[in-house]
């Protein structure tokens, strides 16, 4: 379980997170939604210790992330950010290999190679395994990075808007993959999403944020409903159930 207690963060005068307290139980897919500037990415980065909070505490399976050695955490929790610029010239397989660094410290064993292959298979990247990252399309590159964090083989997987750069087909495939990772491999996935319909169709739990606070959290059925969505986004959003999926309508 990831436990967040009284977390606050400001950038200069702008307070991005205000006293956030939240428990994220183990297992399943949890989506973080909310308007721009709600603090979703900041929350994710704080959990992944990429930035330090002004106050508050985060524990992962009871370990305070501020005190736990980086390598120890890296075997339990992985994050993939939105923007991934690589200066290094690496192949897809080498990038996947870096996911094994917390386990092998750079000396890949047979088990590591097996884990890398599994991750590449999972993302359907075997055909591209020896291509350099800078020769790939945006979507392929995104998948290569996901392969890296999958190879990291952590219990918790944090992704910041992984659907950016992906077309509809690959977006759908990515969400199905995260869902499979959660339900088949027993991982806990926390994902920031912009598209509330992807969140509605693929999550077990939705956490809605607004103005640096937790606005609501619950099942998709509870959150993807006209009333909470109107208050969250300040606009009228109709919700219809189509083939058993709750779809928000906000295009018209």
């Amino acid at each position: 379980m990831i436990r967040i207690e009284n977390l606050s963060k400001s950038y200069g005068p702008a307070q991005v997170l205000r006293d956030v307290t939240l428990d994220l139980p183990k297992g399943g897919v949890t989506s973080l939604i909310g308007p721009n500037g709600a603090g979703k990415s900041t929350l994710l980065s704080l959990i992944a210790r990429l930035i330090a909070p002004d106050s508050g505490r985060i524990t992962v399976d009871g370990m305070d992330i501020a005190r736990t050695p980086g390598a120890e955490l890296a075997r339990r929790l992985a994050i993939l950010r939105q923007e991934n610029h690589l200066v290094a010239r690496l192949t897809v397989r080498e990038l996947g290999g870096f996911g094994r660094f917390p386990h092998s410290a750079g000396r890949l064993t047979q088990a590591d190679h097996a884990a890398i292959d599994r991750a590449l298979d999972y993302l359907d990247l075997q055909a591209l395994a020896d291509r350099f990252i800078d020769q790939l399309s945006g979507g392929q590159r995104q998948r290569a990075f996901v392969a890296m964090v999958l190879a990291q083989d952590t219990d918790y997987l944090l992704l910041d808007e992984p659907l950016n750069n992906l077309d509809m087909k690959h977006g759908q495939a990515m969400m199905r993959l995260l869902s499979r990772a959660a339900h088949d491999l027993g991982k806990s996935v926390l994902v920031v999403l912009h598209d509330i319909n992807f969140a509605s169709c693929h999550s077990d739990r939705i956490v809605a944020m607004r103005d640096g606070r937790i606005f609501a959290s619950g099942t998709p059925a509870e959150i993807v409903a006209p009333d909470p969505l109107r208050d969250l986004y300040d606009m009228e959003i109709a919700v219809r159930e189509i083939d058993g999926q709750r779809i928000a309508l906000f295009y018209g």
Partner: protein
Amino acid sequence: MPHERRARLALIGLALLAGGLILAFMTLGARGNWDFVLAFRGRKLLGLVLVAHAVACSTVLFQTVTANRILTPGIMGFDSLYLLCATLLFAAFGAAGMAGLDPRLDFALNVAVMIGASMALYLWLFGGEERSLHRLLLIGVVFGIFLRTLAEFVQRLLDPNEFMVLSDRLFASFSDIPPQLLGIASLLIGAVTLWLIPRLSRLDVIGLGRPVAINLGITWRTEVLAILAAVSVLVAVAAALVGQVLFLGLVAVSLAHLAVGQSAHRYVLPAASLVGIILLVGGQMLVERVFAFGTALGLIVEFVGGITFIALLVARGRR
């Protein structure tokens, strides 16, 4: 894997070329007493090799922690920082205080001050808000000019006699590598190199950039500051041996990347060192034997390096 083989072949090729040049440097056109010639040229060669290795390694490390292929310690003003530190230290103690001091001790003191000062410079440049690459470069270049002018200003404030002592002690050039520092320079560079070897794969991870590296379990701040301390030592050694070499690192490392075609440190670091050695030893030979000039290698490096840098910037802009 094919590209690993290519990298290995490139390393072997570079090593052979460097070895050949070194052999030629030691023997070409030598007349008279061999013992003398070998000892004389050997010292010169050792100086060039140390500088090449120090500049190449410091540049690779700096580019790794800044996740960038254009920034180098020389361009970002770290060489000039050494010049200023040494000048200020000298001004603080005065010629009389320094005269009694062993030059090696003096140098060690300079290195210590340099480590502190360059950490401060790094944190100032990279610690705060994120800046665009071009702005960062411009800041680095102008700050380098500022530091150099400040050093010159302080030197002018000294008594002219003291200034003579200072320039004897501090301002070296390729033709005038201070022999008394070769021992301690070898020691320092050797220590840093040994320290680096077990860290090669960790450097690869750090080169992926801060977020990815932290995700993979790197304790970013500690690691980066340690690497920076190593960079400071290398920069200080190179600057003490030959003075400023703004663009050598950029040229050597860019060529090394071209040669090995990938970015694992176990290939790039030795390749950059070898390219540096090829450039310096080959260049010195060219300057001495072909053009019969003697002391202009620094200027040539500056000239070629500056053009390379402009070309890199233009090429980046076009992409």
